[in-house]
């Protein structure tokens, strides 16, 4: 049945093309095959089209696409390059493990189609491959370096093997005490484990190493806030906000610290700014609830109700059944 259908289709399309041995004719035939994903039949037609018209970018692109679809990646790449099909070229390069070139090409393609799922997938894959090969090389060439231990620490951390992760992080710090990012990770691990005092110690060291890092200042401020050290937390959070004014995590905690210090207008400002910067984020949902409480405390009932309503809508929580 399918063969009959394709024949009929070809007859209808080809009838509109004058001559049967022109590049246009073969291109049309190939196009019909490609539409039906019959790449193996499209490929000879495209080769003929290119033979007749070697500068046909369309034929180059379609041939590259068809070869890529059939798994002839190495052969597809020059055609895609000549056709300047950045999307498919990026994918082909990624599949062929030309990782650095693939990442560059995929980023260029994503600039035109930022939400293309294929491109996003292959960019992630290529970056993952690049990271894996870089890390593999790091462990091969410098297995006892601070960075290698840091890497092992991160690997164990991701596997939730926290004792092993900490051991590796500590080894890294023994070798290079001023290594950036290790105390931050240790602090995060301690914070997640509920050991806030230990987390604070780590974040303080990291903050000394990276005084210009807004995230570190936020982490330190956040853990101080959790420990009930509101005034010191406030200083750190304000510093974080100065360093990275767009960071909504800082703004949320800053609002909390300011509210605890009874600086209600400043708290309101921080939460409103958060909602402005990230209106659809989970933190914005929390900020709406915080604002509803703040407004109720200030006797601004209508505004409190409005914020509560927005919290309800965004969190999809209902009043009790």
């Amino acid at each position: 049945m399918m063969a009959v259908f394709i024949c009929a289709l070809l007859a209808g399309q080809v009838a509109r093309v004058s001559g049967t041995n022109t590049a246009e004719y073969h291109l049309k035939v190939a196009e019909a095959y490609v539409q039906k994903h019959n790449y193996d039949q499209a490929i000879p037609e495209l080769r003929l089209a290119l033979k007749l018209k070697s500068d046909s970018k369309k034929a180059e692109g379609m041939l590259g696409e068809a070869l890529l679809a059939q798994g002839y990646i190495g052969e597809a790449i020059p055609h895609l390059e000549r056709a300047q099909r950045l999307d498919l070229l990026g994918i082909a390069l990624a599949e062929d493990h030309h990782t650095a070139q693939a990442i560059q090409t995929l980023l260029a393609a994503l600039a035109k189609e930022p939400n293309n799922p294929d491109l996003l997938f292959y960019l992630g894959k290529a970056c993952g491959f690049l990271s894996k090969s870089s890390f593999g090389r790091l462990v091969d060439v410098a297995p006892n370096s601070a960075r290698a231990h840091q890497l092992m620490g991160e690997s164990y951390n991701a596997q939730q093997k926290f004792d092993l992760a900490e051991r590796e992080y500590r080894k890294a710090l023994e070798l290079q005490p001023d290594l950036h990012g290790v105390h931050l990770e240790l602090g995060r691990m301690k914070q997640w484990a509920g050991d806030l005092e230990a987390a604070e110690v780590e974040f303080r060291v990291e903050a000394k190493l990276s005084p210009g890092d807004g995230e570190v200042a936020w982490r330190l401020g956040s853990v101080l806030l959790s420990e009930g050290h509101t005034q010191e937390a406030l200083k750190q959070l304000q510093r974080s906000d100065e360093l990275r004014p767009e960071m909504i995590e800082t703004l949320y905690d800053l609002g909390k610290a300011l509210e605890q210090e009874n600086q209600l207008p400043a708290a309101e400002k921080a939460w409103l700014q958060l909602i402005k910067l990230g209106p659809h984020t989970p933190l914005a949902v929390s900020a709406h609830l915080e604002l509803s409480h703040l407004y109720r405390r200030e006797g601004r009932a209508a505004e409190a109700d409005s914020q509560l309503q927005q919290f309800r809508e965004m969190s999809k929580t209902k009043p009790a059944d």
């Binding site: 420990e227 605890q260 609830l289 109720r296 405390r297 929580t317 009790a320």
Partner: protein, 534 residues
């Protein structure tokens, strides 16, 4: 010579509680863990401190759970007639030993085939003897105290059998008619037919989200030994929750007792008493429904008392690890502020799971300290998250003018703590704790002696309910609310306890539920004073 500061620091490090091993207390809670992981297995059970025979000594009642076949097949039999599965009443003797009086008290076995959960205490018929209400699945039992050392099962006649899975309960007089009414939380719309097994590589207890919510129950005391279910009429049934804890206090100072109910991954309820027999849920507007960032936590144990001595009752809720416990400070205008972080409670509970809870002044310094029974709900939680532990020691924290500082309890390791009841077992002016253990023997903690003074108040209502539940009592600037309810599945001594620090006498001011106002001047410290309503 040590400086005053050093002495204070040393005092703060001193133990507040220590483990005691009283003779005769041989209860073992039996929950019957199965491979099916029925959720009821991991939730019980409660404990009560009460003076059932009015001899001035606190006695202990333990709720037992029951046997579960693996898997359970109909007809369901929890083997409650087997002595191993009885609830147990231990009478305290003059020498601080205990005697198991379960059988002679008429409490052996369970009158209906229930898997036991919680206990509430109160003198519902104003005869001067404390009655016992036991909750469970699929129904509850009311034991009337006959006043001669025995109890009678009056469940059927009284009409408070309930149904489904009940958890914490409490007596209070919501309409101030002088008779104690009864509030019963219900956890989930669950039964064995609805049971599901959760987990792929390994099984774990299903999250409460697996099962539908259910409304709690409110019973009005008719004054003739019967109760009427007013859950619908009062508005309580309008909200379905997954309720585990209940506590009472008058949060807005309007003279009517309100109800706070903790819910498991559902918004908490704050039932404002409208004074006309109805209640309105004001939790969201008051700021006590959710965590600070808007999440419905795994609310379990509750307490509703004034931890910061500002005259306004605050609310604390124990949650699961990673959630921190919720402390809502009463701002005095019907609103609460989430105060877990500034008080230090958040830092102390960042990776802990809590159940029975209460503020009590263990060192009599005039500030109520914090105690919580702890353990995760999942006995294999470390397989789900290696940072978490199933068994945990209880949390004890000293209240230093509203800030909490953890204090170690010598002699206690990680356990599966659940219920906790509070009272002065040893008549030494120090509050003790009995903590129930899931599938194990309870632990008794006694307060460590110090030189501070104290005052106990035993209310005797005349126009108000005889227990005086709902009375607001001020002693030297501290406030208490008369109630045996709160914590988790448990009931504490009905008497109020106040630490007086160095004061040798106290001014006592009582606002009775009837409206009567009573002031006692120059009350001598270090005694339990009986106060009869004028």
């Amino acid at each position: 010579m040590a400086s005053p500061t050093a002495t204070l620091a040393a005092d703060r490090r001193a133990a507040l509680l220590e483990v005691a091993h009283p003779s005769g207390l041989n209860f073992i809670h039996r929950n019957s863990s199965t491979s099916q992981r029925y959720l009821i297995e991991t939730m019980g059970a409660g404990v009560a401190l009460l003076d059932y025979n009015n001899d001035g000594l606190l006695d202990i009642f333990f709720v037992n759970s029951g046997h579960l076949d693996d898997p359970v097949k109909p007809p369901v039999d929890f083997w409650r007639r087997d002595p191993a599965y009885w609830n147990r009443l231990y009478r305290q003797n003059r020498d601080s030993t205990f005697t198991d009086v379960t059988k002679e008290a008429g409490l052996s076995g369970a009158a209906v085939n229930t898997y036991g959960m919680g206990v509430a205490t109160g003198d519902y018929d104003n005869d001067g003897f404390t009655d016992i209400y036991v909750t469970g699945f699929p129904g509850n039992i009311l034991y009337h105290n006959n006043g001669d050392g025995t109890f009678a099962d009056v469940t059927t006649r009284s009409g408070v059998a309930g149904g489904g899975w009940s958890a914490s309960a409490g007596f209070f007089d919501y309409d101030k008619d002088g008779m104690l009414d009864l509030f019963v939380t219900r956890y989930l719309a669950w039964d064995f037919d609805r049971h599901q097994i959760c987990g792929k590589d390994f099984s774990f207890y299903c999250q409460p989200d697996t099962y539908p919510p259910i409304s709690s129950l409110l019973y009005h005391n008719n004054g003739d030994g019967t109760f009427t279910d007013v859950s619908q009429k009062s508005g309580i049934a309008e909200a379905k929750g997954k309720s585990l804890g209940v506590t009472f206090n008058d949060y807005d100072g309007d003279g009517w007792p309100d109800i706070f109910v903790s819910n498991d991954r559902v918004e908490n309820f704050l039932w404002h008493n409208n004074g006309d027999g109805t209640f309105s849920n004001t939790a969201m507007e008051a700021g006590v429904a959710l965590s600070e960032d808007g999440k419905a936590n795994s609310g379990m144990g509750v307490d509703f008392s004034d931890f910061d001595n500002d005259g306004r009752p605050d609310i604390v809720v124990t949650n699961l690890s990673s959630e921190i416990y919720s402390l809502y400070r009463n701002d005095g205008n019907g609103l609460f502020t989430y105060d877990s972080l500034p008080t230090g409670l958040g830092a102390l509970t960042a990776n802990h799971s809590g159940w029975g809870v209460r503020w009590e002044d263990f060192d009599n310094d005039g500030w109520k300290d914090f105690f919580a029974a702890q353990s995760h709900v999942q006995d294999n939680v470390n397989r789900l998250d290696p940072r978490k532990r199933y068994k945990e020691p209880p949390l004890l924290a000293r209240n230093v003018r509203g800030k909490l500082e953890q204090v170690a309890i010598p002699g206690i390791g990680p356990v599966a703590g659940r219920g906790a009841a509070f009272g002065d077992l040893h008549r030494d002016g120090l509050v003790d704790v009995v903590m129930s253990i899931l599938g194990g023997s309870p632990v008794l903690f006694q307060s460590a002696r110090n030189g501070n003074h104290w005052l106990g108040i035993d209310l005797i209502g005349t126009h108000s309910n005889r227990d005086g539940f709902g009375a607001k009592v001020e002693v030297n600037g501290q406030w208490g609310h008369a109630s045996s309810a709160g914590s988790y599945l448990s009931a504490s001594d009905k008497r109020l306890h106040f630490g007086l620090a160095e004061a040798r006498e106290a001014r006592v001011e009582i606002h009775w539920p009837s409206g009567a106002h009573q002031v006692l001047e120059h009350v001598k410290a270090d005694q339990v004073v009986k106060v009869r309503e004028p």
